[in-house]
């Protein structure tokens, strides 16, 4: 037996570094206990090999230890195991078990250390994943397009299809057939751009001329929305533009009432504002509807209180001017004169219509302070939405 032991001892190079074997094999204490029970000598030698493996600083050093212990030609365990058959039956059992346990421990340690060294090598060659990538440009839809599409998605869901009509319109469609009498002061609210050389051609001041064209072209039931750009001859400042955007809606059939209108308007408010935001409808005058309706929603800036906290106590709410409500749209029942102008019998059909401004909704939703920003196309502005 001493032959085997000395053989093993001779193979152990004292120059090999030492490291704690348990750093490599988590179950080392159990393994060592099992080994020691078989042979304290083999256990000690195995511990030396495993320590050397744990201390191997690179793949070559590790290979050298591995070779010393396990090489098929000259590995210490290989040679020692080769001697086992020549031992007595009792010795065979004891030495065979100890050597096999030792060899397995060394093999496992080698495998674990190899994985550690490989991981370390990869870590050395790692990319700096925090470097910025080669990033392509991204595009955003315009903020007004996003608001418009939200509205169109809603109205589409409620069965309204889009109808488009010209931005440059005949006076007759912009005013006359919408029951604006010639020289009526109601036209004053529509500061109108006229086209040079044609006194009867205007830039539409609202999207409502679309109703006239749709009703002349199609038969009820009509359930349509009219998105588009409109123009007013106004000086441009922070809250006024000479161009802005509206969406009108129209529903014409037998027995359409203000109760139907109210349902549609409240659905709009719940979907676009907040499901539980109080709304109210009050009378208002537009020449093309009778009765006329204005819908307000409760001011979200002051929660309907009319005042907001200020430095010197409460001050009047700057959004609703203390009225607690914010106007969001105009609406009403289609005026019988409008029906007559397009050849629809107002005794047979009734209908409601509504119209709202995209800018107003967008400014409220996103807290945009100036209407001019919408058509300026500043990338820093557009990129936020």
């Amino acid at each position: 037996m001493s032959d085997v032991r000395s053989l093993l001892a001779a193979r152990l190079d004292p120059a090999w570094g030492r490291a704690e074997p348990s750093g490599l094999l988590a179950d080392w204490p159990e393994r060592l206990a099992a080994l020691s029970a078989a042979s304290a000598e083999v256990a000690s030698i195995t511990a030396d090999y495993v320590s050397a493996i744990a201390a191997a600083g690179d793949a070559a050093a590790l290979q050298s230890v591995r070779n010393a212990a396990l090489s098929r030609e000259s590995g210490a365990f290989t040679e020692a195991l080769a001697l086992v058959p020549s031992l007595s039956v009792d010795e065979k059992r004891v030495w065979g078990k100890a050597l096999n346990l030792g060899r397995k421990a060394v093999e496992d340690a080698d495998k674990a250390r190899r994985a550690q060294l490989e991981a370390a090598r990869e870590a050395d060659h790692a990319l700096d994943v925090t470097l910025p990538g080669r990033e392509p440009w991204t595009g955003r839809p315009h903020v007004l397009a996003q608001v418009r599409d939200d509205l169109l998605d809603l109205f589409h869901g409620l069965g309204f299809s889009v109808y488009t009509s010209p931005e440059v319109e005949l006076d007759e469609y912009n005013f006359g057939k919408l029951n604006f009498a010639a020289d009526h002061p109601a036209r004053d609210a529509h500061d109108t751009y006229f086209v040079e050389g044609a006194s009867d051609v205007v830039l539409r001041t609202h999207t409502s001329p679309g109703w006239v064209r749709a009703m002349e072209e199609r038969k009820p039931p009509l359930r349509l929305v009219f998105p588009g750009r409109v123009y007013r001859a106004e000086a441009v400042d922070a809250s006024h533009m000479d161009q802005f955007h509206q969406i009108d809606g129209l529903f014409v059939d037998r027995d359409v009432s203000m109760a139907d209108l109210k349902a549609t308007l409240n659905t709009f408010a719940r979907a676009i504002y907040r499901a539980d935001l109080p709304t109210r409808i009050i009378p208002i005058y537009f020449p093309f509807v009778e009765p006329g309706v204005q819908m307000d929603v409760q001011c979200v800036r002051c929660d309907g209180r009319g005042h907001v906290p200020g430095e010197e106590g409460a001050r009047r709410c700057p959004v609703c001017k203390g009225t607690q409500w914010v106007e969001v749209l105009g609406a009403g029942m289609v005026h019988p004169n409008v029906f007559r102008a397009v050849g629809i019998d107002p005794e047979e059909y009734t209908g409601f219509a509504f119209g709202m401004g995209l800018e107003r909704i967008a400014m409220g939703r996103y807290g945009i302070p100036e209407i001019r920003l919408f058509l300026e196309n500043d990338l820093r502005f557009l990129g936020q939405f």
Binding site: L131, R134, E135, P136, W137, T138, G139, R140, P141, H142, L144, A145, G157, L158, G159, F160, S161, T164, V168, E169, D183, P185, A186, Y193, F194, V195, G197, A198, V201, P221, R229, A233, E234, V236, D242, Q243, D255, S257, M258, A259, D260, K262, A263, T267, R280, I281, I282, P283, I284, Y285, E290, P291, V293, G322, M333, L375, E376, N377, L379, R380
Partner: protein
């Protein structure tokens, strides 16, 4: 229109606070934009007399006053310039909390003790005047104010003023009476006794009166009341009259003029007072103005008139533009002793045109053009005369003339069933009657319907549905229920235009371009610089009345707006700009309405990547930009786009192309010409793409027939040719495609070679040809034959030689 509640309560007896009245008006369509509270109570502020006012020893702008507070003498430092000994003033004693929250304390100011504060009207919140200390005796017209008594004992009680937005169709709301009627109906009030008397009053013109010479020669003036009053005294108005006008934001001028303004605000009836001595004749004549006639109006401006204006003249010359403004010559002045009152009715349209032509909008013209109650003139005139005689006790009525118009009797039928149908809730005829009667409509029952007599001031009620609105308003819009949502069988479809534009948008967003929305109005210079860049043929559409030179003409295409945006963003320091827009371009082609062409335009300038810190980063060049546009066209399902060199206006020659599909031009792409960029001060290469959307709609929305992919991989062959430089890639590609027949599926360029070994004047084009045939796959023999055919074709048609490869 401002509505002081004290004035309102002279007319109607109603319960309710200012806020409740405001709410009632708003919910009936008279939007109250604000409520002002005036004359807050002033506890602690008393009547005092200034005994002495001397310059403060240590401050030039301050005065040191001795004041009798009624309970002793006080020393007070005051900064107002008007303080003098003997003045009766409001004194805020120590401990007083001012209406603005300030608490008055005794303090030393520049070394002198100040034991209170003398107040201006603004500090008392009586008006905005802060020019000096209020002279109480003058303000209240009393000299017997007991010193030390609270000023609130002498001031009018606190009042509130509602700021009411009057709808265009409700001229009756331009007077206190009209608004009072709405409040009365809304809150269940009643007219005061004084109101009933005043509304029923008529001027006392009798047979014994001398007739005043009045001739009306224009149908737009059917009613005119003229009355001479002798022995008037023109002077300052009494406090009550001044205060009423002040509440309306109208300054006091003189008692006679103030009375006309009072009637304007109260009855909504404009009036005018002439100095009789300056009215030739004396006589009045109403006629159309003659071209070129001149009149200097009250505002001191000489105006040249046309037949648009209705003119009031005396026996010789014009004395006023009817319904708009009186003449300066016949104005009432301090020396006036005899006055001629005008109270007339003029046609709204005439006044509107007249005022517009003069560029004037006066309180009178605003009321006339909306429509003054044709039935109010008599009561208003009588009220004026009554008040005038009260203010000038010695005055006597002189000659008068009264041409009355027959107020139109309008009676409408209202079916409660119609109201139910429109409003969505049932109405009984009794309910309709209650609502309408409250607004002074006359109602009689006719079977199931009502015969409704419309009062003279309700010019807005001419149809049954107008009465339905009255009923709905009176009942309250808040009582209309929400019906279940019903579409009546209508359903929504996305139109081809929506689908096309949605795809156009998404395909551009995917290329990393953001959506721009530019104004449709551009300057003439901008329009001319870009005209034709989208292939438009027509002329510019100019505005007759532009607001600025920047917005004078409709954009012919989207290029100017995008270049504006590029210039703006470069100025703001953006290194790259990538924007596109979908919208209309406008061209005049001679039809009544201009052509509106829907198009997409896109601009790219700057770098390829938002970020890259290696060799991949570079400026966008022609091929990079073209790749974006090609990819977009592919997304728009344009399969066979033909690109050819283009040198149209605005495009940089040699770096621009026109794109055609199925024989017509659908797009343009390339670099923007230098001179165009210079117009926007852009100093960068800008790649532009303009595509017409209408020609793409069909392809973009078509339903495709599915094709099953082949089961065998395609055979690829690489062929390289030397071709003369003038031969385009498109030519070689077409030749290969034409001769490849059904076997050639795709031609793909993989290199352009012009380096060493290229024969003089040629370039190498390397084309790979993945071929494809259904099943079975091509045989080697077939491929060899095809290849030989293609080489021959390129040789004969493109003068190309197969490049031998090493």
């Amino acid at each position: 229109m401002r509505l002081p509640l004290s004035w309102l309560r002279e007319w109607v007896e109603v319960e309710g606070t200012a806020e409740q009245i405001a709410e009632a008006l708003t919910t009936r369509g008279f939007y109250v934009e604000g409520v002002e509270h005036h004359g807050a109570p002033h506890p602690g502020i008393v009547v005092a007399r200034v005994l002495a006012a001397e310059k403060h020893p240590n401050a030039d702008k301050l005065k040191l006053c001795r004041v009798d507070s009624g309970s002793g003498e006080l020393s007070i430092v005051c900064g107002a310039p008007n303080v003098t000994a003997g003045m009766t003033v409001p004194l805020a004693t120590v401990g007083t909390t001012m209406p603005n929250g300030l608490v008055i304390k005794a303090a030393k100011i520049r070394g002198q003790l100040s034991q209170g504060m003398l107040c201006s009207t603004r500090e008392l919140m009586l008006s905005d005047d802060h020019s000096g200390i209020l002279e109480l005796a003058e303000y209240l017209g009393r000299t017997d104010l007991p010193l030390g008594s609270p000023i609130d004992d002498h001031l009018p009680p606190p009042d509130a003023v509602l700021e009411v937005e009057v709808p265009f169709n409700r001229p009756d709301g331009m007077g206190v009476i009209g608004l009072a009627r709405e409040v009365k109906a809304a809150l269940g009030g009643r007219w005061t006794d004084a109101a009933r008397t005043r509304l029923a009053a008529r001027p006392a013109i009798t047979a014994t009166s001398t007739p005043f010479p009045l001739t009306l020669d224009d149908a737009d003036c059917p009613a005119f009341f003229a009355q001479v009053v002798h022995g008037v005294h023109v002077g300052e108005s009494p406090a009550w009259l001044k205060q009423k006008l002040a509440a309306m934001g109208q300054r006091s001028i003189s008692n006679l003029v103030d009375l006309t303004n009072l009637l304007l605000f109260e009855y909504g009836q404009p009036m005018h007072a002439y100095d009789l001595a300056k009215v030739a004749g004396p006589a009045l004549h109403v006629r159309a103005a003659r071209e070129g006639e001149r009149l200097t109006t009250l505002d001191g401006r000489e105006r040249t008139l046309t037949a648009t204006q209705l003119l009031i003249t005396d026996a010789g010359r014009p004395v006023g533009v009817a319904g708009v403004m009186g003449g300066a010559d016949s104005e009432v002045s301090a020396t006036t002793t005899d006055v001629l009152l005008e109270c007339a009715w003029f046609a709204p349209t005439r006044v509107r045109r007249s005022a517009r032509a003069l560029g004037l909008a006066t309180e009178a013209s605003k009321r006339y053009e909306r429509g003054v109650d044709p039935g109010i003139g008599a009561a208003a005139a009588q009220r004026y005369l009554t008040l005038l005689l009260e203010l000038c006790p010695g005055a006597k009525l002189g000659a008068g003339a009264w041409v009355e118009q027959a107020t139109p009797e309008v009676t409408l039928t209202l079916r409660p069933s119609r109201a139910e149908r429109l409003v969505g809730i049932p109405f009984t005829s009794e309910r309709c009657e209650v609502i309408l009667s409250a607004l002074d409509f006359g109602v009689t029952h006719q079977g199931d319907a009502l015969a409704v007599r419309v009062p003279s001031w309700r010019l807005d009620c001419r149809l049954e549905d107008d009465l339905v609105e009255e009923v709905a308003r009176g009942n309250g819009y808040d009582r209309i229920p929400e019906a279940p949502m019903e579409t009546h069988g209508a359903f929504a479809v996305r139109t081809p235009r929506e689908r096309t534009e949605r795809r156009a948008l998404e395909a551009m967003l995917a290329r990393g371009l953001s959506e721009a929305w530019s104004g449709s109005l551009v300057s003439v210079a901008e329009a001319e610089a870009t005209l034709g860049m989208a292939g438009e043929q027509g002329g510019l559409v100019r505005l007759a009345n532009p607001m600025s030179t920047e917005s004078a003409v409709l954009r012919p295409n989207l290029v100017a707006g995008l270049l504006r945006a590029v210039a703006h963003n470069l100025r703001q320091g953006a290194p790259s700009v990538r924007l596109f827009e979908v919208g209309a371009g406008f061209s005049s082609l001679g039809a009544r309405l201009p052509e509106e062409r829907r198009m997409l335009a896109a601009v790219v300038t700057g770098q390829r990547f938002r970020h890259a810190h290696d060799a991949a980063q570079a400026s966008v060049d022609f091929l990079e930009a073209k790749g974006l546009w090609q990819a977009w066209l592919r997304e728009m399902r344009v399969d066979a786009a033909g690109w050819r060199a283009y040198a149209g206006r605005g495009w940089k020659p040699g770096a621009s192309a026109e794109v055609a599909a199925q024989g017509s031009s659908i797009a343009w792409a390339g670099a923007v010409a230098r001179d165009v960029l210079a117009a926007w001060q852009i100093d960068a290469d800008v790649h532009l793409f303009v595509a017409l959307l209408e020609p793409l709609a069909e392809g973009a929305t078509a339903t495709v027939r599915a094709q099953v992919p082949g089961r065998f991989p395609p055979v690829r062959r690489d062929l390289a040719f030397f071709v003369p430089r003038a031969v385009t890639h498109a030519k070689v590609e077409q030749t290969l495609a034409h001769h490849g027949g059904g076997l050639l599926r795709e031609v793909q360029l993989f290199d352009v070679y012009e380096g060493p070994g290229t024969p003089q004047g040629t370039k190498g084009l390397d084309d790979a040809r993945p071929s494809h045939h259904a099943e079975p796959t091509l045989t080697e023999a077939q491929v060899t034959v095809l290849q030989a055919r293609l080489v021959t074709a390129v040789a004969t048609e493109c003068d190309g030689a197969l490049r031998e490869r090493g």
